[in-house]
Symmetry: C2
Subunit: 229 residues, 2 copies
């Protein structure tokens, strides 16, 4: 006999949500203080346990909403972490989910028992268990995503300057990009429409505003590309 | 309190291995007949249950080896499937793993209680539970992999013809490719070395043999590219 249900081991399955935020300047991450042992009081990803009666997608949404107030977020499954001793409390596997949201557009719960808090990704505290590793894996996934498909539609204002788009790429890739070089590469992707309109707040000369060409943007989402930095 | 270990639900966690084979002609898949209820006797991916004391990676290797004899296979985690009613036997989630191997280089267990069998991917039987969906997701992942990174090093003979490489791409992408067009695109990737040597078995004129330039190949694995078909 291959196996049987009655003799197989049961385990706890947790979910942890890696929520990246972008505020037009920096990449941020949403964290929460754990309120039970072990590691009570330390910083953690937003997580909880799967219920028998829900899917992983539903559980991730429920937990995120319950602990942060965030709703209507598209969470993508990242990976299931399974080191045997990863959680000293009990044998627990964890499926990590991630999302990148415009942190200015989404209100957090302001009071409540657990208050989730945004941290600049570079100043984030050390996290419990294998949560640092989860964050690293999510950042790599996000970077691969950013150089192989268009990004920014949900993160930038409807009309934006080339500098704003550059700041998004710089925040995700954690590099400084050469302006001229960046403009050439973005133009080569052919997903922008240059408007006959300027943002006058940043300089006297002003900066041209752009929009995404939604049709071309969606087509490139399908096809993919290689954006070499 | 966020949650606690003692009140959280425990679940069964299964693993299912999607093993693609390439025999220099076609894409194949390794399947097994299930020998316990429900769905006893039907075709299934190679699967089993996680033990408390092992990681998912280790469990996938153990199960694959036990049921097929395959050893030393690099399995990559694909996705964790969690529909509530996916397994009518009991609430069971399943983490799927996949690999693409040269099916001619790997011997299967020839006897034993469960005999795994290769099927041409287009003639594979209908599978139990959500296993068809798992296979579809793995094929999509494999295709994305094939057009964004070099593929073939472990699958082709050390020296191969352009036609053999084309057949690999055709098998994975499930399309017929134009020969001249394919050659141009592959040459543009700059990962091949053309040898001063011909394979004389396929035609009177013979076909030049190629090798991968391992250094450039590995560099492209890092960088990625877009291979448009």
């Amino acid at each position: 006999m291959l196996s049987s249900y009655s003799t197989a081991d049961k385990v706890l399955l947790a979910l942890d949500c890696i929520i990246f935020g972008f505020d037009q300047h920096q990449l941020k991450i949403l964290l929460i203080q754990r309120d039970f042992e072990p590691e009570k009081g330390k910083w953690s990803l937003i997580g909880g346990f799967l219920k028998r009666t829900e899917t992983l997608d539903d559980a991730a949404k429920r937990i995120l909403n319950h602990l942060s107030g965030l709703d209507d977020i598209y969470l993508e499954q990242l990976y299931t972490f399974s080191e045997v001793d990863r959680d000293p409390g009990e044998r627990t596997l964890s499926t990590a989910y991630y999302a990148l949201i415009n942190s200015e557009d989404h209100k957090l719960l302001e009071d409540g028992d657990y208050t989730a808090k945004w941290f600049d990704i570079k100043e984030a505290p050390n996290l419990i268990f294998d949560h640092n590793e989860m964050v690293q894996k999510a950042i790599l996934r996000l970077r691969r995503r950013a150089v192989s498909k268009p990004i920014g539609f949900e993160l930038l204002p409807e009309k934006f300057t080339m500098l704003q788009l550059q700041k998004l790429y710089e925040a995700i890739l954690d590099v400084e990009l050469d302006k001229r070089n960046f403009i050439n590469k973005v133009n080569a992707l052919d997903i922008l429409v240059k408007l006959d309109e300027k943002d006058m707040t940043s300089s006297r000369k002003g900066s041209y505003l752009y929009q995404f060409d939604k049709e071309k943007y969606d087509q490139k989402i399908e096809e993919g590309f290689t954006f070499k930095i």
